[in-house]
């Protein structure tokens, strides 16, 4: 098992533990982006780089990473979703490491585009990374923001699409690569759970805004989630299920 895989496993175990204890969490959404987050936070992002989470349902995953990195206090994740906790199920601005509040879909990319623009106007050279979900691609603001990002020449903006096929429940967006390319973005399509593919894609040079289509599996790592993502969308495990999910997580390796 690689260091990356061990880290992903460790964070998923932590989330399962907290979800079981607190009876909260959108686990499949968070598991879907864990490989992306770990690659970004442990391998790619430099200190001055910024990350914007747009798909709020995956905030649990971001919190787990922020706690592990020491950006949140150790143990703070134990308060997740509890009375008077800072950690709402959808991340909110003001929490260390959370640049914008999440929850309502289609807000993160326009904000990330604006921040990338503002950074450049302030002569900063840092990169802005954002993760959006394919489900929220039905929101028109994403496409408007893509138009704006190209118009403004934001070559330091990287958007990672967590393509876990949620959009198929609504309007299925076929030929995503062609659509993004039609907006003049640089596009790569990868397996969003493969460490090397993620790292290679994130290290690529680009001269226009960059969209990485990361094909993922909702609930990756636990077969129950993967097979019944809808059932587990906002469900927290009971004791028996918790043990089962931990076992599935280990079997998956």
């Amino acid at each position: 098992m690689t260091t990356h895989e061990k880290k992903v496993r460790q964070l998923k175990e932590r989330m399962l533990e907290v979800s079981y204890k607190n009876q909260q969490g959108f686990l499949p959404s968070a598991f879907s982006i864990l490989d992306i987050l770990v690659t970004l936070y442990y391998e790619i992002m430099e200190e001055e780089d910024q990350f914007v989470l747009s798909k709020g349902h995956a905030a649990f995953g971001l919190y787990a990473v922020l706690e592990d990195k020491g950006i949140l206090e150790k143990g703070e994740l134990d308060t997740f979703g509890q009375y008077r906790s800072r950690l709402s199920l959808m991340a909110e601005r003001g929490i260390s490491g959370v640049l914008f509040s999440t929850g309502s879909l289609g807000h993160g990319l326009p904000e990330a585009v604006g921040m990338a623009y503002g950074n450049r106007a302030k002569k900063r050279e840092n990169r802005v990374f954002t993760v959006i979900g394919d489900g929220e691609l039905n929101e028109g603001t994403n496409w408007e923001a893509m138009l704006a990002a190209y118009k403004f020449g934001l070559d330091h903006l990287v958007c990672i699409l967590d393509n876990n096929h949620t959009t198929e429940q609504g309007i299925d967006l076929t030929n995503l690569r062609r659509k993004f390319e039609a907006f003049n973005w640089h596009v790569e399509e990868i397996n969003g759970h493969k460490e090397q593919e993620l790292a290679d894609a994130l290290n690529q040079k680009h001269h226009v805004p960059y969209m990485i289509i990361a094909n993922t599996i909702k609930g990756k790592g636990c077969s129950s989630f993967e097979q019944q993502a809808g059932l587990w969308h906002s469900k927290a495990p009971n004791e028996e299920e918790y043990k089962m999910l931990l076992k599935e997580l280990n079997e998956n390796d």
Binding site: E92, R93, G94, L99, F100, S101, G103, S104, H107, L109, P110, E111, A112, V113, G114, M115, A116, Y117, G118, N119, R120, A121, K122, R124, G140, T141, E144, A145, L147, A148, K151, F152
Partner: protein, 292 residues
Amino acid sequence: MIDRFVRVLEEILAKDERSALVLSGIRQYSFRKSMEKYPERVFDIGIMESTAVGFAAGLAAAGMIPFLHTWTPFLIERAFEQLKLDFGSQKLEGNFIGAGASYDLTELGESHYCPEDIAILKQIKNMQIVVPGTATEWEQLFLQSYQNGSPTFYRLSNEVNHTENVVVFGRANIIQKGNKGTVVVVGPLLDTVLKAVGDKDVTILYYTTVEPFDYTLLRENISGNRILICEPYNKSAVLYNIIDALRGEFLKIEMVGIDINAKCCLGNYQDNIPALGLDEKTIASKLQKLLQ
């Protein structure tokens, strides 16, 4: 007010490198010189109001001072959620300068009317709301508030008062003191109110900031328990503030403002004022009734 807005913004853009003017399909010609001089900070993002507000939030998070200018109905009603979440809930600093107050764009029809603007915005936490009565008042209020750390909406209107007042952001003015009742008037309706009141023995309090509402001045200067509230948009946006300021008091209230079902009949704005209930005769009649 629009001309003043252009001049003041040009001055700010020239002296403060943190300032960024985002136009959304509006007034590119007025700002053509600034767009040429500071292309990185003055630009038209296109006709995408919701995204423009989110984009402005990103600018604010990057340490810029965003000024977003577009038509009021599309700014407030289409982008309401972005105003609420991206700015209000996150308490980001941003300035929203709306063009086309209430029925200013009379001849364009329902799509361009926005008399509900203030009532809607008052539901957004941390949102400051400025309703100036003249261009000079707008400038005073704008310069006092545009970088105070909160989102602010500035209502630019075609209608302006001839009466000028020195105004302070967040504070109301005492126009006159009387004994038989109190008239609370907002922004560009002041001139009409002054004519309607004539020599009646009433206190007139003039509000150009409606959020935050100046509770203290009202509490300290109310005359009796009869209040006439005069607003140049849909009536009752500040009613809650007045009742809240005077809670526990037995009040007799009359309201002047646009009725939610009012019908604007195209033509010019002046033609429509009586039907909208904002004319001198209606105000005088309501005041007379209140004081009886």
